[in-house]
Symmetry: C2
Subunit: 318 residues, 2 copies
């Protein structure tokens, strides 16, 4: 959750100059500049490249815009529509991101890691079917329940494509990768295992040879802790609904990442410090990335993010 | 989740005639007619009165409209704003609902139960502060973290007012009451205990003398099962993210209600039947209300609801 955003005045300034969000993602100089903003301001230990999970769908023929919410003009509503989705093999079409990664890697201090990322198959599948963010995911679930085998094929194709996409990011300089399953929280355990965790596992396995840490972020996945025990990744990222102490027990083979409620950053400094210290105290000592449980919302004051980061940076295990 | 809605053609017909949603809620003949629609069509074992959780805020001075999403013109953004919130004592201002309940009770067969309801303190508190539905609940969380004592007072006042409101519903004919905590899923466990479960407990305790079953619906509360163990109510309602077998163990003193994913109703009949039977099989035999895990979405076919209800009605424990 280190990505720059509207809470930073320097981001808003670049955004105003650059115009729309997709142009920012696709212009390496701008994306690199914005990637570096939180590092300059907060001295974070890692930078995550500035991008959006939906941009790698464009090379597959998806018509995407942000106005300002993500919108797909040609969603996949029937099994036949899947023929329209053609991912390039070998992977291509996101050279702008590779250039961005190279620029950022060059600018970063050697000790600051660079993180690449992609959307998880289920999460991308919901956008492909719904055409936008959804509250109920009715269309995606209708597709999955009416055509379960076809939906399996869709999420598996997304897994393979995203594995190739992450590979291109590591080749360009990413030293860790994060897979965002933003909408897994819409699924009960049975459906999550089939349509989200299964294809995410396929994706993560396919990049096992890259030798970089793999982070799987299960947003809203507090009810799925036990189902993630064998995920082929080094780190499980959790949002603030998950109890960190419980997750430490349920996921003994993983490092954990997270999970302060970004809503706490709307509060005063003393509350931010107290909650951050409580979070770190509950975290597993075997491996832990202190972080928010979700992205910084636009209305969070920069001061609050500083307080959060400084509290972590000053923390020492006894 | 028995409330009429846009998925029913007979509801859309009444809605077109009646005009806006609030007028429907406030006109007893219309609200009673709409309450009875799902009973006539599906032969359900209980009717829930047609209303909205926000209507009892109007007698306290809240300016509410639905256009079409709920919107409050005078939200509470500072501690001083709380002075503007004045609930009538003794309770008054929702006589239209009492009339509706009386009309419905008269029309219902004696064996069909009538359910009254209200919003839970936390959920109502988010609307009062945000002024609308939210994704991040930043404003409500900002208020709570900056003024925790004042926010405690707000949710406690809401608990007391909703207890009086439910009392008026039971006096008018409701034979069970449901408390909807629609947005408890936005909170981690620590905040949920203080701002949602605590005041909900206060509300539920205050109506313990009414002698009617109390249902507490914790939407998105799968991470809070153990925190709800001592809730002073007879039934805990769960959404589809909660594992029913796990909840049966975690909540040994409660009957359970739920929890099929309404998204399953977007699928074919065989999937609906299979998932419904699996749900009932996992449910506690000590007390269980078969239900959806959330309301029926507008795009669900009526056929699918019939299949769901018939599968339950035909089910017999071995």
């Amino acid at each position: 959750m280190r990505q720059a955003g509207r809470y930073l005045p320097e981001y808003r300034e670049v955004r105003t100059r650059a115009g729309d969000f997709l142009t920012m993602c696709r212009t390496p100089e701008i994306a690199a500049e914005v990637t570096l903003q939180p590092i300059r301001r907060f001295g974070l230990d890692a930078a995550i490249v500035f991008s959006d999970i939906l941009t790698p769908l464009v090379p597959a023929g998806i018509e995407l815009d942000f106005a300002p919410a993500p919108h797909i003009a040609n969603p996949l509503r029937t099994p036949a529509d899947l023929d329209r989705l053609r991912f390039p093999e070998p992977w291509s079409g996101t050279e702008f991101l590779s250039e961005t990664l190279a620029l950022v890697r060059e600018a970063l201090a050697p000790e600051t890691a660079l993180i690449g990322f992609c959307g998880a198959p289920w999460t991308l599948g919901t956008y492909l079917v719904e055409g936008s963010t959804s509250r109920s995911f009715s269309l995606a679930k209708a597709f999955a329940h009416h055509h379960p085998g076809v939906f399996d094929a869709l999420v598996n194709r997304l897994a393979d494509a995203m594995a190739a996409y992450l590979r291109s990011q590591v080749e360009a300089g990413a030293q860790a990768v994060q897979v965002f399953d933003s909408w897994i929280g819409a699924l009960g355990a049975e459906d999550a295992r089939r349509w989200a965790l299964g294809p995410a596992r396929r994706l993560l396995e396919k990049i096992g040879d890259l030798g970089v840490p793999r982070i799987y972020f299960a947003n809203g996945g507090a009810h799925l802790l036990h189902d993630m025990r064998d995920m082929p990744c080094e780190v499980i990222g959790l949002d603030w609904r998950a109890d960190l102490a419980m997750a430490t027990r349920a996921l003994p083979d993983h490092a954990l990442q997270g999970n302060l409620d970004p809503g706490v950053l709307m509060g005063p400094d003393d509350a931010i410090r107290a909650r951050t210290l409580a979070m770190v105290a509950a975290a597993p000592r075997r491996g832990y990335i202190a972080n928010l449980g979700h992205g910084v919302t636009p209305d969070v004051p920069v001061r609050a993010v500083s307080t959060f980061v400084e509290t972590i940076q000053r923390y020492r295990y006894e």
